[in-house]
Symmetry: C3
Subunit: 284 residues, 3 copies
């Protein structure tokens, strides 16, 4: 049998020993765990960034992988510590929306409309939703699976890491705490179709400065669309990052969304754009 996989996503950076302390705690409890870093360079306290990175990467891991996510500005306050179980794996972290893209993928998998979930709220503001039918959620309140001493500032080490390690050793989900009916969710903006135009938003900016939008490539967008963003117009979809003669291009990106990119440059810089920037995709 292969060893259980635990991934880690945090905003702890790489200068300090925070992440390593969590790994030490895990290896004490589950010595044969395979540890994989997703990212520790999530911008401090940026739950939406962490949620996107986790949602994007976690779907490529084997089913049953345990994903530990600690972007946790409310640590020590009243926010719940959470275990979310989906079709894809186990997700351990604070109940603050960090699992939003994971939940979104699960909803879409079952053909549920996401639009229904969202009101007319600020993009990325926090709302409360019922736990989707295909998932289970548990509040972590059984201290048997925690470290002996719990700090008020580092639940990643004291609560989340040991619970993840015990799950990796095979304890049933239901033993970590009481089942929850509702969880926090980020109000991820959804694209709106109106006539021959899709109105969308940038929801993520990657390391290269590529702008990832919320317009799924599965919408069947033809090659000769017109994209308007930040007062620039892009004619048609490109086939690769390197085939734009003028630099700026739109492309079906690897996250499953339309991306705006610049040949060997940063679209975020060129357009002075970021998360929340609006765009329009016009069908011919």
């Amino acid at each position: 049998m292969s060893s259980p996989i635990i991934t880690l996503t945090t905003d702890f950076g790489s200068r300090d020993g925070f992440v390593a302390a969590m790994k030490g705690v895990i290896l004490n409890i589950c010595p044969d765990a395979t540890l994989v870093d997703i990212s520790h360079e999530v911008p401090p306290h940026d739950i939406a960034h962490g949620a996107f990175v986790l949602g994007s990467a976690s779907q490529f891991f084997p089913q049953g992988t345990i994903h530990l996510a600690v972007v946790d500005p409310g640590v020590g306050s009243s926010r719940h510590p959470l275990l979310l179980v989906t079709h894809n794996g186990y997700f351990v972290g604070p109940d603050n929306g960090i699992f939003s893209y994971v939940v979104l993928a699960d909803l879409q998998r079952f053909g549920m409309s996401v639009g229904e979930l969202h009101g007319n709220l600020e993009p990325m503001s926090t709302i409360i939703i019922p736990v989707p039918q295909a998932c289970e959620a548990y509040i972590l309140n059984r201290a048997d699976y925690w470290l002996d001493e719990i700090s008020s500032t580092f639940h990643g080490r004291d609560i989340f890491a040991p619970v993840a390690a015990h799950l990796a050793r095979g304890i049933p989900s239901s033993t970590v705490g009481q089942e929850l009916g509702e969880i926090k969710f980020l109000n991820i903006p959804q694209p709106v179709v109106h006539g021959d135009t899709i109105f969308g938003h940038v929801i993520f900016v990657d390391h290269f400065g590529n702008l990832i939008t919320n317009i799924p490539t599965s919408f069947g967008i033809p090659k000769d669309v017109e994209v308007n963003i930040a007062r620039r117009t892009i004619a048609g979809l490109s086939q690769s990052y390197s085939d734009a003669t003028l630099g700026l291009l739109a492309i079906a990106g690897s996250h499953g969304y339309i991306e705006i990119a610049v040949r060997r440059g940063s679209a975020a810089q060129l357009l002075n754009a970021g998360v929340g920037t609006r765009l329009e995709v016009k069908f011919p």
Copy 2:
């Protein structure tokens, strides 16, 4: 039997192949080692930073873990290559103070006064101390456990990594070289109690800009203390990073020391403070 764990702490950064070369060397000698990065973003040549990160993280690893630490501005000069064996594990690296917080924790574990060790010296200057009773120290001078060719600039790869890997394979500590009676130590400032006031220093600044002081939470500090730092006064200890209405707060931190923090911000920036900044904690 689970595979031996080797951690790595360096100031090598992540752009180059230095750390990977060390890992390759280790895996050549001990293919089943579990490698865990503590940090490679220690600021270049900053032994005090590396020492704190290593001391803080290493205590959460299983006993017997091998910790490799290479912040080594004196590589190729007369500083000794060192193996330090403590209650907690094996520490391999240069004899330049990089293991100071590890030694400090070990001394405190045996109830020894640290104050006796320190003179009236500059904070973080290098002193020489006898090897504490519960520890053993060895100078690495048996070339059988090194690479065949030794560069004068990268002992991490050529000496420390192979010695760590041989230890992981189970060679006795005493075979790596001759026992040492004294080691280098950083003069870590100790808090001073005077009347109703504790006088302390900031000894570390973390990724979030939180200021970690040298005042242990085990001093039994009451909730209604007054903290003075950088001409600001903080009334009382907070329960979480998010419960300060005015932003600036003092809290019992996860390293076991009082920390100064700012709600969703950087205390280091707000106060223009860093390692060496003084503070006072006044009891009511």
Copy 3:
């Protein structure tokens, strides 16, 4: 039997989930792979930097290690996806010169002159060379070893990672695709000896700001040479980074080349020098 090793070298950075997605794909196919990061902080699109880092670190890994390298500005265009098999291991990535230092080391190992390969071209420009005799090269064109869906922007995840994982599971090299006779190569500048002087270039700048030149220490350079670089003269080779009284020094570096360094500082900054800067080494 120990688990197969797969290393990863990319310019993907650590903020996003790109690298983790590749690791998830690998662990799905080959759950017992040992994954080792070489670097993900290669400057975006900087093939020469990635090539040096990979060439430098890969030689310290066990024979048969699989090295995955994705610095791939031409992804989705006509550049080939490649498997290169050398004496040292398996190299999977785009055919754009990323394996140049690996090939160079292999050529030198067999006593082949590199000078013959290079014309009078711009340093680091891309040329085409025949696959060296001791190596094999294959174009990756058997989609059986790829993911089911291939994006046009992330072959690292969709093609290179799964091929590497299948190689780790033991499929023969020749099954991944058709053999190639020629590969891309970076025109790495070679040192030129003229009378009592070696004329060289800086080919890499490391994390500390040390300037790595293309002048091999194996040239048998005496201790009392004179080095001229950026209008400064350095008298003699130093024994360690810390023994220069005036700061600037030349030393036999750990990559096997002469390096220019500054005691506890950055030579790149002090000299305003970088890749391509010329230097002269004068024999006494």
